[in-house]
């Protein structure tokens, strides 16, 4: 331990390194393939969750659009599902789903206020998710995916002018 004024440096004993053993010449690729296989075994379960989440998001969006009193509760619930999707979809080859969901979550989080206009922007993300699910788009979605994300980016950018500062805008659209 070393002190420098009111700063103290505490040496890391690195206990975890004492409990593992390096295997010289070991095949890391084979290990990673085993891990990937274990994760792939959950693909079917993820697809069920993904479809249910998109249905749920769509239903809550309809509630929000129909009744302004329901908007806050509906958007909170939508965000929960979007957050789960963005954290899982890319692991199973649905990278575009992650990107759309991430853009939507950040738009919700970084908007200073959330009213009817913001709800419309969120609805565009939800429509994008529905379309991607319906067409079973995998990966980044190729040229269609690029066009879709550019469209969402443009909508967020148009709406964001004057409401979202440049840093926040970049944070949302950078992810899109």
């Amino acid at each position: 331990m070393a002190k420098h004024g009111n700063l103290e440096v505490v040496e890391n004993p690195n206990r975890i390194a004492q409990k593992v053993r390096a295997i010289p010449g070991g095949n890391v690729d084979a290990l990673l393939q085993r891990v990937e296989k274990a994760m792939e075994n959950l693909s079917d379960e993820f697809v069920s969750i993904y479809h249910e989440d998109v249905e749920r998001i769509g239903a809550r969006m309809s509630e929000a659009l129909a009744d302004p009193e329901e908007m806050d509760a509906a958007v909170s619930a939508i965000r929960v599902s979007l957050h789960d999707l963005r954290g899982q979809a890319g692991t199973f080859g649905y990278e575009l789903v992650t990107r759309i969901s991430d853009s939507a979550c950040k738009f919700i989080d970084l908007s200073d206020r959330f009213g009817r206009v913001e709800l419309m922007v969120l609805n565009m993300h939800v429509d994008a998710l529905r379309a991607v699910k319906q067409q079973d788009v995998r990966g980044e979605g190729g040229p269609t995916g690029v066009e879709l994300m550019n469209g969402l980016r443009a909508v967020v950018g148009r709406h964001g002018a004057g409401d979202l500062d440049e840093a926040k805008l970049e944070e949302i659209t950078g992810s899109a």
Binding site: V20, N27, L31, D109
Partner: protein, 164 residues
């Protein structure tokens, strides 16, 4: 990357989403990790840490009943935990600057973002093993040294307290 035998390691995974917990446990078991305990909240994670010794903690951030930030802060403050220096990996889908900064300033060791891949997860565990960082304690921080970059060619002014 180096292949490690990790059968003596005991890990704690703190994650409120059941499917994600299953995914992580299956991935870590496939890596050969000795044992993996799970908790569905920061609060439950701290309860487990009060009664068990872990070699690595992997935690989500956004959880009800005790967030990941709460958990990390409590660990680094040594509240009923065996080892406040335990490595902590944050796995979160929330990668806003504010959240990353909050996690770093709470004392996170590594922050690979979700969605997780086998290579990224194994890579971060390897990095923790191979390049341990000393801990820094100041009036308002205790955690791994937040300075990662070492530039041997830097010729500018030196303002760090331990540069003296």
């Amino acid at each position: 990357m180096t292949l490690y035998a990790m059968s003596d390691l005991r890990l704690l995974v703190v994650e409120d989403n059941q499917f994600m917990r299953t995914l992580l446990v299956d991935a870590l078991n496939a890596m050969g990790i000795g044992s993996v305990d799970t908790a569905n909240s920061g609060k439950r994670g701290l309860e487990l840490m009060a009664n068990n010794s872990y070699d690595l903690v992997i935690t989500d951030l956004e959880m009800e009943n005790g967030t990941g930030i709460d958990l990390i802060s409590a660990i680094r403050k040594g509240r009923n935990v065996d080892d406040p220096l335990v490595p902590i990996i944050v796995l979160s889908a929330n990668t806003t600057r504010g959240m990353i900064t909050a996690a770093r300033d709470a004392g996170t060791t590594e922050f690979p973002a979700k969605p997780v891949s086998a290579k990224a997860l194994y890579g971060r565990i390897s990095r923790i093993i191979e390049t341990p960082r000393n801990f820094i304690r100041t009036d308002d921080y205790f955690g791994p040294d937040r300075r990662r970059r070492r530039d041997p060619n830097y010729r500018g002014p030196k303002r760090r307290k331990d540069d003296a």
